[in-house]
């Protein structure tokens, strides 16, 4: 281990504080009364959280967000991992072309697919359902691409050893490839989860029923609490924002410990 460079340590600390300061400030603000905030006084309260969870139904939104992001992540990872395994290990007629098509989807802005997706789901009667929120997000070209690159780095001899041991292709995927891709799959899962958690435009379009709102839609609605009044209850908004951020933060801290490097050590040679 190299000794820490004190200058770098100070720099990292400063940068960390800089990034953290808006978050800390909004958490601080979420515990102030609105009156105190607008008059510049300091007055501590839980009222904002009570209001967000009770009156503004954020507990419900939180559950919705967890369900939707969770399903998108699980199904998305399952689809992407299978596709990645196939693209990494098999060549078949048109496999390169097909993989090219998957990569090409990365270059299409999601806004372009908004209306076609909306029309498709409307025809299928899936607007205003969880399925309507989840299904369009589960095919993830980037995840398939990313995981395929990772799997290609796993020595093929390990697959072959498993075949010799009596495994079927699905067993090879499940017992060899997936355990060895754990760091990549977890990173990708985290990335998908956060993207979906932050997704605003699609739930806005696909959902009209209030009881299916996700956190982001609920949050946006807080800005129009009192039509006609141009005063926004910022401490309330900050309390709702904190509710929105916290699960992701906790989730990240939990998963991050599992993003271990060096899983391939000792496989060959």
């Amino acid at each position: 281990m190299k000794p820490e460079n004190p200058f770098l340590a100070v720099l990292a600390l400063a940068a960390g504080l800089l990034f953290l300061s808006p978050v800390l400030y909004s958490i601080w603000m979420s515990f102030q009364t609105a009156d105190a905030y607008y008059t510049g006084n300091i007055e501590f309260t839980f009222r904002n959280y009570e209001m967000a969870i009770g009156q503004y139904n954020f507990a419900r939104y939180l559950v919705n967000s967890v369900i939707v992001s969770g399903l998108v992540t699980l199904i998305g990872l399952a689809v992407a991992t299978c596709a990645a395994f196939a693209f990494a290990r098999y060549t078949f007629a048109g496999s390169n072309l097909l993989f090219g098509a998957v990569v090409a989807t990365l270059m299409i802005p999601s806004h372009i697919t908004l209306i076609p997706n909306y029309l498709t789901l409307a025809k299928a009667g899936l607007l205003d359902t969880y399925a309507g929120l989840v299904l369009p997000a589960v095919s993830n070209g980037f995840a398939a691409f990313f995981l395929r690159q990772y799997i290609r780095g796993i020595p093929r001899a390990l697959d072959e050893a498993a075949y010799m041991d009596g495994a079927s292709p699905l067993k090879v995927l499940w017992r060899v490839i997936i355990p060895l891709s754990k760091p990549a799959i977890l990173s990708m899962g985290l990335y998908i989860f956060i993207s979906e958690w932050n997704n605003y435009i699609w739930p806005l379009v696909a959902i009209g029923r209030e009881d299916l709102y996700t956190l982001q839609i609920g949050l946006a609605r807080l800005y129009r609490v009192n039509p006609g009044e141009d005063i926004i209850d910022w401490p309330l908004v900050m309390a709702a924002s904190t509710i929105t951020i916290l699960p992701v933060l906790v989730g990240f801290i939990l998963v991050e410990r599992h993003l271990i490097r060096g899983m391939m050590m000792g496989a060959v040679k």
Partner: protein, 359 residues
């Protein structure tokens, strides 16, 4: 019934040149077969076809008398030990060994018992809970063997299993593999580029070159009666000397014949001798342990001879006369390299065509 029969097996990879040019072999149950040849001659390719890891499209592969060209690897009752071991890095030693049993739905108690007993045979008992990353090369090699052995297959394929080990370990493992073969009674097909390994392990040796099977016979036959110059030169260390017949004094001077003789068959003389001999100049002497190898330069090219320790060694630059016993010489067609079964001619029966002055 033969354990494995290969009939005219050919192989080329898509868009590439042909790698195997019609290999045929008949392997009996319980035989220890070693496939030997220089790197790139197609040994691994052949083994992968036997394992079912690559499709076998041309020729016929029979396992226990039944056509097996299209049988997937898991249905072949074959265990394989990979050159790089290919251990599962996320599993412990015990799990690595038991994995094949688990896939074959052997109940947990039973499979752990079997894995433990295999580990005991291979002296791995103290490492059962370690991951491969925390093992030495020799230990990994044992785990790789254990993984194949646990399944109790009738045939084992080994692709240069010892090539990543240091020399002492390699020699020790060689003996152990031979012992294991006796215990298991299984058919073993063992690939190596090391001729010593081939001769010491095999019941029968298959010598390959450029995708052609050159000779398939017992080590004795391969060593004493190689079918051609390649086989003669590839097996045996130091390698056999080849000299055009007309470069040997007192030989007979047949044209277009190369005479091959092993370095052990040459004796060194300090002065001209009667009988077939070659005059040479010593370039280098090399100690190998019990013997010295004397490298010399002659009119016929580089030659090597073996001198036992204790005999007087020539010095660099000395001129020596290497005499050879015709009964230990082999004759090869100078162009095709095929060994010729010439009657051994004694020099006294042959008319002297020329006498070379000794420099």
């Amino acid at each position: 019934m033969s354990a494995i029969t290969l009939k005219d097996i050919r192989k080329s990879y898509a868009g590439g040149p042909q790698i195997l040019h019609g290999v045929s072999m008949d392997i009996q149950h319980g035989e220890f077969i070693v496939i030997v040849g220089p790197s790139g001659c197609g040994k691994s390719t052949l083994l992968r076809l036997l394992a079912g890891l690559d499709p076998c499209e041309q020729g016929e592969l029979l396992i226990d008398g039944k056509r097996a060209n299209d049988l997937p690897p898991q249905d072949r009752d074959i265990g394989m030990i990979f050159q790089n071991y290919a251990l599962y890095p996320h599993m412990t030693v015990l799990e690595n060994i038991a994995f094949g049993l688990e896939l074959r739905k052997v109940p947990k108690v039973e499979r752990l018992k079997r894995a433990r007993s295999v580990a005991e045979t291979l002296q791995l008992t103290s490492y059962l809970d370690r991951k491969p990353g925390a093992l030495s090369g020799g230990q990994r090699q044992r785990v790789a063997m254990g993984r194949a052995m646990a399944r109790d297959c009738s045939t084992f394929l080994m692709d240069e299993p010892l090539s990543n080990l240091d020399n002492a370990l390699r020699v020790a493992m060689r003996t152990e593999i031979k012992d294991l073969h006796r215990q298991l009674g299984a058919t073993i097909i063992y690939v190596t580029h090391d001729q010593t390994e081939a001769l010491s392990l095999a019941d029968r040796v298959a010598v390959m070159k450029d995708g052609h099977l050159q000779q398939f016979d017992t080590p004795d036959m391969i060593y004493d009666q190689p079918v051609n110059r390649f086989v003669a030169g590839f097996l045996g260390s130091p390698a056999m000397n080849f000299v055009p017949a007309d470069c040997i004094d007192d030989w007979g001077g047949e044209r277009d014949i190369d005479v091959g003789f092993r370095p052990e068959a040459l004796s060194l003389n300090r002065s001209p001798v009667r009988g077939p001999s070659i005059t040479a100049r010593v370039v280098l002497t090399e100690m190998t342990g019990a013997t010295f190898i004397v490298h010399c330069e002659s009119e016929a090219g580089r030659l090597s001879a073996v001198v036992t320790r204790g005999e007087e060694l020539p010095h660099e630059g000395d001129t020596i006369w290497l005499s050879l016993d015709p009964s230990q010489a082999l004759c090869f067609d100078a162009i095709s390299g095929v060994r010729l079964d010439l009657p051994v001619m004694h020099h006294s029966q042959m008319p002297k065509t020329h006498v070379k002055e000794t420099a």
